[in-house]
Symmetry: C2
Subunit: 557 residues, 2 copies
């Protein structure tokens, strides 16, 4: 079919043909795709005796101008994207056969905008499909050829097509592998966090980067109302979109959270569910959305507990894919990430809940013990706050402070075992009554000392009435045997006792209390702890019992 | 070089050659690898005018007998694996060039064991490398050829080599993708479990299946001794290997857990670290081991807490790869799984620890309240056990039982607010004292009622002295307003009170207690709860105070 106007159909003998094929073979088996395409195009231009050549590859519905040979002036065209139906190249693809154009100026299919920029006096052209079975993966065009050599060129073109396909399949597979690896890494990171706020931020930033989206948003269902509350967003939305509320079922996020379905909208302007309100508030122009439900797996809580039930807690949206459009791989990745994220959020909630329960219960029970004597109401809670303030002033480690906080709340728990008559006695205690009172650290140890998870708290309970000079109780410990947490709580305890009203005297003024603590520093109290408490007080970090009551009165007044 | 003893070097003209190449092209571009190899081999045998042909592919250090053409009797050889250096095929690979054998019987390289089983009178042979750049990926052998056509055959062979490589690269990429997907799925499953025992089993079974190993073992470091304890193993080891202990640093597992390094041993008999002791005990023959440390990530605990520190808690071993040998991909997968598994195990431990802490503390504090009156010692704990037994007998949901257990432990917490004089009074209470005693449910609610995580426990605390006929306290609730948990604890509480000694009377015999409960059933007590308790007692699931003391005495006697 390609037999007009070339100098010769073919002039090569067997030796030439085999040599060309061997050169093509060497190129195909030893080079990377880009170089392969250039070298193969050069070989084909040489075989056809052409002046120059170009190579387009098909990508979706576009032709990508990939290689120019023999015409450096057109090199800048490389990378240009054209509609797949354009010009002679488009015809070559749709007809899936070689096209010979004797004079491009007389061919209505010839697209001058591409042809003329090549700056060559193009007259004739051979346009060959790169074909793989029935699929055309690209087009090679050879300009002003002297020979057509149709079978040889087609063999080389098909070999190129095979290499293009191989490279694409491998690239796709590698890309999938690398995104999956990234997902595994991300899941590892979010899985090592039990802090909900940090989790929400991590999830969003990871969702955005994994999907290559301009922005992302995370909505959580507010249990009471069923409304969706925007918790975090990334990218441009970050500042403007806080505190946006979607009424139950509204918007794409509401639909997704309500139904548990995934929604992919390539153009939100065509989707009636899109709640334009959010864009108005945020000033962000949403084009495409991939929205997946945050559905937590059923969580196995272990022995004696039911598994939690799989349930949807909200929705993640990825907004505006930066390159291309959201596809099936994106859906899979975001769904997997969301499922994992929702599960981790639930586990963080379970952990926070039981910690809250523990703290609430020990505070409530020790407050109830304190309240047996109206004069010690709130004592344990204040001693815990003072102790934490001292430790923080001393820059002690957060884990030390954590156990100190618990120990200080529980420091007087042994008073459960002291009789009411002694605890509530309005006047000074007799020798014998005082002896009973002094049992409370040991009773506290007897009550809680067997608990494995409270071992770090025991020194506080046992030692909070010991004194550096060995005159304290219950063990008259010498200074070197009194732990740092025992010393801290001793100071906090004494400060609260001094500054609180007692049946037999009013609470001391703060200054007087610190004066007395300083008098006792070194003999009775650890002076570093005393000064740390004074510093915390100076900075307004703590308040005595009377200051707290005054504050409460002022607030309610 | 291949020019002796064939009828002709080449007899094909250009038309023939192009036609053969086009046939090869069509085969290569449209078929799956297996069929492609068969069709290409057939084409090459045809070109060479041979009687038959075989194709081997190189896999690692082996030659795999892949295709037989023209000799159905040898079909059974397909799949056979041979050393890569064997026979003429081995020479073709090491020399990376075609080899012509005029008479196989005179060639010392000819391996009769392969040649003779082909059942053909093989005399001459052409052995061609399938070459890709410098790499030989396989060998084609054509028997009794009439033509050599070296350049044409080599072109086709190289095309096959290219397709083999493409297929292998894609297969490898797909396999990686699918193993990563499996890993993501596995991580999701282990990440939704907070039950340590279940976790250990899941981790092991997943590790074994993901790696394609015969067996796997999980060792955890025993904190006190530093020894490694085998916790779970899968496959053949399952039964025999429980309770094996590796002294600190011993064995490959000890090395890995101690150093945090990964160890891959292809043949344990050559590794001095292998602790053959374990194989002796288990009867399992270990050949290859991949051992990775169980290293938990640093876990973010949130506000007011330090992150936990990354640390190694044990070691996972995959034993005896079923196909091939453990490779870099295996190391990466098992390392990632182990890291995630160790982190999840740590989170499960954190969750279990705080739950244990909570239960231990409420049990200890309520026991201390009970102990103010020697006659009620252990009361709260027993009431909780009785209540749980009733609920389980009634087949109530595990989550209901969980909250019931907590509520029942706390049911008398309001006694903190009742004066010692009333609590400890040896004789019967006066009207006024009884009024004070009857305040304890309301006091309990005042102490704990504000706690968000205790709302489901409140009915127990408030209603455990209500009666179905409305004669109970504190609210004289009618039957329909008394919750099921209130009814259960009322029965459990009454049973414990009846069967325990009191200052003014000895504990009732069990039968008498049940008689009285049944008399009160319907008016005072819920009869279903009474019968459930009786059933639990009949089955030996609970013991009254006196029975427990008797048991304790017997055990210590």
């Amino acid at each position: 079919m390609i037999n007009q106007s070339v100098d010769a159909e073919t002039i090569f003998d067997m030796e030439n043909v085999l040599a060309f094929l061997e050169r093509a073979d060497a190129i195909a088996s030893s080079t990377e795709l880009d170089e392969l395409l250039e070298q193969m195009l050069a070989l084909m231009v040489e075989i056809a005796g052409g002046a120059s050549g170009t190579l387009y590859l098909v990508e979706g519905q576009q032709l990508v101008f990939r290689v120019v040979h023999g015409n450096p002036a057109s090199q800048y065209l490389v990378g240009l994207r054209l509609p797949i139906s354009i010009g002679v190249a488009g015809a070559t693809i749709s007809e899936a056969r070689p096209i010979w154009v004797k004079d491009v100026n007389l061919d209505p299919r010839w697209d001058a905008t591409i042809g003329e920029i090549s700056n060559l006096a193009v007259r004739s052209m051979l346009s060959l499909p790169l074909q793989l079975s029935q699929q055309v993966v690209g087009v090679i065009q050879i300009f002003n050829p002297h020979r057509s050599e149709p079978r040889l060129l087609q063999l080389l073109g098909n070999r190129m097509a095979s290499e293009v396909e191989k490279s694409r399949l491998l690239q796709k597979a590698k890309q999938r592998e690398s995104r999956l690896s990234a997902l595994v890494e991300i899941i590892g990171h979010i899985g090592s966090t039990l802090d909900r706020t940090q989790l929400l931020n991590m999830i969003m930033e990871y969702a955005r980067s994994l999907l290559g989206a301009e922005a992302s948003s995370l909505f959580l269902i507010e249990p009471a109302s069923g409304d969706l509350i925007l918790h975090v967003s990334t990218g441009h939305l970050n500042e403007k979109m806080q505190a946006i509320r979607l009424p139950k079922g509204k918007g794409i996020a509401g639909y997704v959270a309500g139904t548990g379905e995934t929604v992919l909208v390539a153009d939100v302007s065509t989707d009636s569910r899109h709640y334009a309100n959010v864009d108005q508030k945020s000033g962000f122009a949403t084009h495409s959305i991939l929205a997946v439900p945050l559905t937590a797996r059923a969580i196995t809580l272990g022995r004696d507990r039911d598994d939690s039930v799989e349930h949807t807690i909200g929705c993640i949206e990825a907004l505006n894919k930066i390159e291309g459009t959201f596809d099936g791989d994106d859906v899979l990745l975001l769904t997997t990430l969301a499922r994992q994220a929702a599960t981790v959020l639930e586990i963080a909630t379970l952990y926070a809940d039981v910690n809250e329960l523990f703290f609430d219960v020990i505070q409530a029970l020790t407050a109830a013990i304190d309240a047996k004597d109206p004069y010690t109401e709130g004592h344990s809670q204040r001693v815990s706050e003072f102790s934490v303030a001292i430790a923080e002033e001393m820059k002690l480690a957060a884990e030390f402070v954590h156990h100190l906080r618990i120990g200080a709340i529980l420091h007087d728990v042994g008073k459960i075992g002291v009789s009411d008559g002694v605890l509530k006695k309005p006047g000074r205690l007799t020798e014998e009554e005082y002896r009973e009172m002094k049992l409370h650290p040991s009773i506290g140890e007897r009550i809680l000392g067997h608990i494995r998870m409270l071992q770090q708290e025991m020194p506080v309970i046992i030692e909070h009435h010991e004194r550096l000079d060995g005159s304290g109780y219950p063990f008259n410990l010498p200074a070197e045997k009194i732990s740092i947490s025992g010393r801290i709580v001793a100071v906090a305890d004494a400060f609260d006792a001094m500054t609180s009203d007692r049946p037999y005297r009013a609470g001391l003024p703060i200054e007087e209390a610190f004066r007395r603590l300083r008098v006792g520093a070194g003999t009775e109290f650890d002076s570093q702890c005393v000064e740390a408490l004074a510093a915390a007080y100076q900075q307004g970090k703590i308040h005595s019992q009377k200051e707290s009551s005054a504050q409460t009165a002022a607030l309610s007044g």
